[in-house]
């Protein structure tokens, strides 16, 4: 645990994300702790949906906050914190994909065995359905998965996503639609092939 002032122990600040980040930029690095408490979960979700791996997502979240410390000086007074944080998360994820180009994103989860408890069979089926959907999401190209994750699962507006992806708002809408369409096609194909979430690739550890 840290020896320095730990914002976790402070009363919850009313300061905006941007205000806190400006303080971090000015050298008040412990203030990043408040931002960590506020946003680490959503950044973890982003990294998890992008990579499919819980362990990797944890590493990437760590990387994102390290980048916030290192590149705090690039945060502008007129910037919004969340899009900036997602930009760092996106860069961290893309850097990982670039380094491991030969390894497609694969989930590292395990689906539990059905036991004799009431409702166990139903829970197993639900888990399989969910895992199949996650696999369909991971089969999307990175850019489509990214725009879908940002738009559907996070509180970013289309305009903020457009700034993040450096394109127009209209282009974001089109990309989102195409991504949903491909996700549906991918899921349908998986269902039609009758595959288990592991897809015979042995990656899910499905039991």
């Amino acid at each position: 645990m840290p020896s320095t002032a730990e914002p976790r122990n402070r009363s919850v600040s009313e300061v905006s994300d941007e205000g806190l980040m400006i303080q971090v930029k000015d050298g008040e690095t412990p203030q990043l702790g408040i931002l960590f408490e506020r946003h680490h979960a959503r950044l973890y979700q982003f990294c998890l949906r992008m990579t499919g791996s819980t362990a990797l997502a944890e590493d990437l979240v760590q990387d994102v906050f390290t980048r916030m410390l290192r590149y705090a000086h690039t945060f502008r007074v007129d910037s919004q914190f969340l899009p900036w944080a997602y930009r760092l998360a996106r860069n961290a994820t893309n850097d990982h994909f670039r380094k491991h180009r030969h390894e497609p994103p694969m989930p590292d989860e395990t689906i539990p065995q059905a036991d004799a408890s009431p409702g166990a069979q139903e829970r197993l089926v639900e888990a399989e359905t969910s895992a199949l959907l996650r696999r369909a999401l991971l089969e999307l190209p990175d850019d489509k998965r990214e725009v879908l994750v940002l738009s559907r699962f996070h509180s970013l507006k289309y305009q903020e996503i457009a700034e993040l992806l450096e394109c127009s708002e209209g282009a974001v809408k089109v990309r989102v639609h195409r991504a949903v369409k491909q996700l549906r096609e991918s899921y349908e194909a998986l269902v039609a092939s009758g595959q288990s979430p592991g897809g015979g690739r042995g990656a899910l550890g499905v039991v």
């Binding site: 089926v125 359905t129 996650r134």
Partner: protein, 291 residues
């Protein structure tokens, strides 16, 4: 496939189809459509959540792991004394403060920088062209001067000496300067016209600090029969501090045809040189002063 599997997968597909339709709307989406898209997105999000994500204990454990790693990293970062003193970081921050946030402004800055770069490039190129032209002019002047020094008419040779003197002033190239100096020394030694020789001595006075010119002038002194040139040249060689200057003046003093005024001046120079250890005068006497 069991009934439940079929039912669950159909439900997922239904959400995906509805979401596909909802996101297909062009133009401004209605409030109702936006709400539906948000609801469908939330449903899909919930469907994607794994057991581990829903398991509170697992979420707590993961949060603690992330937290521990974060604060460890933060402590390490704060412990680094150089983190605020990095010149690169400060320069980066300084630049970031000037870098505009909007794309239009960024493009404007980039365009401005490009224009400044192009302007500088063109200016530099123009300057290098000027240098090249200047070199060409100097070379031409040198060629013309050397050609005129051999002209049969004294006034043309005089013009050649003037051109040579001008080329000497412009020349940044030692080789070129020495080529002109050699031509002028030839004039000082052998030109039949007193005026031309005097003009050549005046021109060479500017570069009399060069050993080759100095010794050339000393050598030319013994060949002079014009009192004006003798005195001007004697003043120049003594002032230049050449080691052979006094010997050359002594040789000249032995001549019977020497004008009394010249002899007087040469003796005076020798006296001064003896009294001052060879440094007769701090500056050469010009032909006009001798006159």
């Amino acid at each position: 496939m069991t009934d439940q599997q079929t039912s669950d997968r159909t439900a997922v597909l239904e959400v995906l189809r509805r979401l596909e339709r909802a996101t297909a709307e062009g133009g401004e989406a209605s409030d109702e459509s936006v709400r539906e898209t948000e609801q469908l997105g939330a449903t899909l999000w919930a469907m994607l959540e794994s057991n581990e994500e829903l398991d509170e204990a697992a979420v707590r454990a993961r949060t603690e792991r992330l937290r521990a790693r974060f604060y460890r990293e933060l402590a390490v970062f704060e412990a680094k004394p150089e983190r605020r003193s990095s010149l690169l970081e400060r320069a980066d921050r300084w630049l970031a403060a000037f870098w505009p946030s909007t794309r239009v402004a960024q493009a404007a800055v980039a365009a401005f920088t490009l224009l400044v770069g192009l302007g500088l490039g063109l200016t530099t190129r123009r300057e290098s062209e000027l240098v090249r032209l200047e070199r060409q002019v100097t070379t031409m002047g040198q060629t013309v001067a050397l050609a005129l020094l051999d002209h049969s008419a004294a006034n043309e040779r005089l013009r050649g000496v003037s051109l040579g003197a001008a080329a000497l002033e412009r020349s940044r190239d030692d080789e070129a300067a020495l080529a002109i100096a050699d031509g002028l020394l030839e004039v000082v030694g052998y030109d039949p016209s007193e005026n031309v020789r005097l003009a050549a001595v005046e021109a060479l006075a500017r570069i009399a600090d060069r050993p080759r010119v100095r010794s050339g002038l000393v050598e030319a002194l013994s060949r002079q029969d014009s009192p004006m040139v003798q005195m001007t040249l004697a003043d120049l060689v003594v002032a230049s501090g050449d080691g052979d200057a006094q010997a050359a003046i002594r040789t000249l003093l032995q001549r019977d045809d020497l004008e009394p005024a010249v002899r007087l001046r040469l003796e005076e120079l020798m006296r001064d040189a003896g009294g001052n250890g060879g440094a007769v005068s701090s500056r050469p006497v010009t032909a006009k002063e001798n006159a």
